[in-house]
Amino acid sequence: MMIKPILSALRRHKAGTILIALQIALTLAIVCNALFIIHQRVSHLSRGTGIDESNLVIVTNRLVGNTENFVPLIKSDLQALRQMPDVEAVYATNSYPLRNGGWSMGARTNPDQKKSTGQTAIYFVDEHALATLGVRLVAGRNFNAGDVIDQDPKKSIAGPVTIVTKALADKLFPDGSALGKNIYLTEEKKPSTIVGIVEKTQVPWVSSFASTWDQYVTFLPAVLNTDYNAYLVRAKPGQEAAVRAHVLDVLVKNNRMRTLPDENGVQTFADVRSKAYERDRGMAIMMGIVCAVLLAITAAGIVGLTSFWVGQRRKQIGVRRALGATKRDILTYFLTENFLIGGAGVVVGSAMAIGMSMWLQQHFETERMSVVYVLVGMVLLLLLGQGAVLAPAMRASKVSPVEATRNA
């Protein structure tokens, strides 16, 4: 076919050929990895918390003053919040999904077991928690007011009853018989009976720390005697802004001896989500920009060099046209030429992409990139190359046979 003359022509432009191929190879290596990073981060972002995230306001505060017992203060705060006209449900807790801080423990199914069966996040809650979070109970019952105990956080935390997520229930009791069974959270072999199972709730952490157990949650019915806690407030539909605006006044009126963080003292769950995934979102944006600019620059480079080659070969093109080559032949010539260079580039580039992915994996403990990204990247770059070469190739095909007779 036409490949042999193309190859021999390329041999006369070694430097340019190698440069374009190298640029395509490097671009492929970076774009594949960048796309992989974007996909990974975006899949973090789209992970569901299992809770109804709308109309949820979160107040983080610290009760201050010379007090030993904070439980009555917390209960009186909750009372005041429940009397707000736009509030549907309220509870106090140590942590909640995406908070990025909290309490985790190993859960065992047998008191004498040495290694735990599964790691779990602990949420201390009361009987209003499921309604506030909008989490669905799939088996058993909710806590009732009688279950909720006052808990000294420095003492054993394993209460007599617990609600767990379905994911944790299945992990601890793979045969599906979790309801009514006992689990053991502390070393003193005090059992906690599973009285309810909820569909889905996420742990507080979004980092890789909890990535293998991000749905393993244990709810314990207790008010922690501690100065630092979060109030989760479910506003009536559409009343989120009103609750957000007034919630602090209500609390301060109830008791002024409290402090809130400078930022994020009162936030909606949307704020919590955006903060939790700050790094993931930033990384995805950054890699997206890099990909776009990189592809643009590579395309521009191909246009530039091919235009130069076309300019250089006007006379030869004229000769070929004069000898009977059609416009189409010329167009195909340049497209094929670019395809060959691009092909060499993506072959080298795919090896570089995999090498770079392995390097990232080794140094930053990222996950392994699937080959699909390389294949997609290869197709993308070949198409980009063909697209970029189209304009100069069209110009080449329009060279008139008369050029053959001109000097230079």
Binding site: L22, V64, I285, I297, G301, G304, L305, M356, A408
Partner: protein, 435 residues
């Protein structure tokens, strides 16, 4: 000659405005991406205390054993009992244990709200060890450490807020319902990265507003405002907690030279040996004594995101350079006839080199200026990509401006080297003949 070549260069650049613009943009974008991510990397990887970083050490001992630790590293925090033992032994000229606490400033006026203040519980050596600059007063005394005294050192910001910026030494402050005497006021000081509390801050956080004696905070049973990790149930109550293997404290020592560091490490080893003999540990010795920079490194204070971004944008710059090499090659070789004429009229290869490198340098300068503008935008925009605590550290200062321009010109000259060499190889006879 210089002026003439410069004019030639400009004319040539003007002849192909699109090709020129393409090169300038490639250099500009490549340099800007690298410099923006470099500014973040530089901020997160800097030495927070260059004058003393080699004399400040973070001791660590393995009180958890191989089952509860990762990669053979001892835990990066300490138990209360170990910290107390090391402090009592006093084997370093200066030493401090520390942990973050939450403190609320309660105003005298009952209608105004308490204010939360970031605080640390430290020993008095903290201030001279870390070169903390005082405006008024001085650190509390060692006797006050011993006596669990109710004294505080406050920041300028807090002093301005409460005492209107006046000398407040000896005045009183109500914290969580208890009165404290101000012993000193310091500048708004913080270490960036905050090496002495990496475990709780990751290195980047808002500055602390006050410091109180460690012994006082322990007496008040103040819990850490940061991490607390237990590998076994500590049991009920504060005293059991203090006796437990829960880790929640940091320890720092100042050791003047390598000999002192070696003997301190020996002391740590001996201490662990004693503990093992007493039956506390059943695993081999595993102690660390890291100076500031080693500790920053071991704690991975530079976020992976920062490093990956820098790495990717350097790759981006390389691609932009490869691109520039190709474009310059095309540009220079198109002028082969002109080169042939100049060579035939007596221009030496050296002069051809000079002419074309100068032209490339002009592209580099233009790329650098564009890169600088884009870096400025990039640094302003890092807040979109990096979290605020890190983003606010990235600044466009004089050194970054110079580095940006330098990198742009150097990179372009590097890229121009091969095309220029090719241009200088043009045989005058060939060119003249084919015309």
């Amino acid at each position: 000659m210089f002026g003439y070549y410069f004019q030639l260069g400009l004319r040539s650049l003007r002849r192909n405005p699109i090709l020129t613009a393409l090169m300038v943009m490639a250099i500009g974008f490549g340099v800007a991406a690298s410099m923006t991510t470099y500014s973040v990397f530089r901020a997160t990887s800097r030495n927070p205390i260059p004058q003393k970083s080699a004399q400040l050490f973070h001791p660590a001992i393995d009180n958890w054993g191989p089952e509860d630790t990762e990669k053979g590293e001892p835990p990066d925090s300490m138990t209360y009992k170990d910290v107390v033992a090391l402090m009592r032994a006093h084997k370093a000229p200066r030493q401090t244990a520390l942990y973050p606490i939450a403190s609320a400033l309660i105003p005298d006026d009952p209608s105004s709200l308490p204010q939360r203040q970031g605080a640390y519980a430290v020993y008095t050596d903290f201030f001279p060890m870390f070169d903390v600059p005082f405006i008024f007063g001085k650190p509390w005394s060692a006797e006050e450490d011993e006596g669990h005294a109710a004294v505080v050192v406050i920041s300028k910001k807090l002093n301005d807020k409460v005492f209107g910026g006046a000398n407040s030494v000896g005045k009183q402050l109500n914290l969580d319902g208890r009165l404290y005497v101000v012993s000193g006021v310091i500048e708004d000081w913080d270490a960036s990265p905050r090496f002495f509390d990496l475990v709780n801050t990751g290195g980047f956080d808002k500055g602390a507003q006050l410091y109180m004696p460690f012994t006082r905070a322990i007496e008040l049973q103040k819990q850490s405002n940061g991490n607390n990790n237990c590998n076994s149930d500590p049991g009920d109550g504060w005293d059991n907690y203090l006796r437990s293997e829960c880790i929640w404290l940091a320890m720092w020592v100042e050791l003047p030279d390598a000999a002192a560091a070696a003997s301190y490490k020996q002391f740590l080893t001996n201490y662990v040996d004693e503990q093992r003999k007493a039956g506390r540990f059943r695993w081999p010795n595993n102690v660390r004594l890291r100076d500031v920079m080693d500790f920053l490194d071991a704690e991975h204070v530079v976020p992976a995101e920062t490093q990956i971004s820098l790495f990717v944008s350097l790759g981006f710059l390389v691609i932009c350079l490869v691109n520039t090499v190709g474009l310059l090659l095309a540009k220079f070789m198109r002028r082969a006839p002109e080169i042939g004429v100049r060579r035939a009229l007596g221009a030496s290869r050296k002069e051809i080199y000079f002419q074309f490198l100068l032209e490339a340098a002009a592209v580099g300068v233009a790329g650098g200026v564009l890169g600088l503008l884009l870096t400025g935008l990039g640094v302003m925009g890092v807040g979109l990509v990096f979290e605020p605590a890190i983003a606010r550290l990235a600044t466009l200062d004089i050194s970054l401006v110079l580095i940006t321009l330098l990198v742009a010109v150097a990179a372009t000259l590097l890229a121009a080297f091969y095309p220029t060499w090719r241009a200088a190889q043009v045989q005058p006879a060939w060119q003249l003949k084919s015309n």
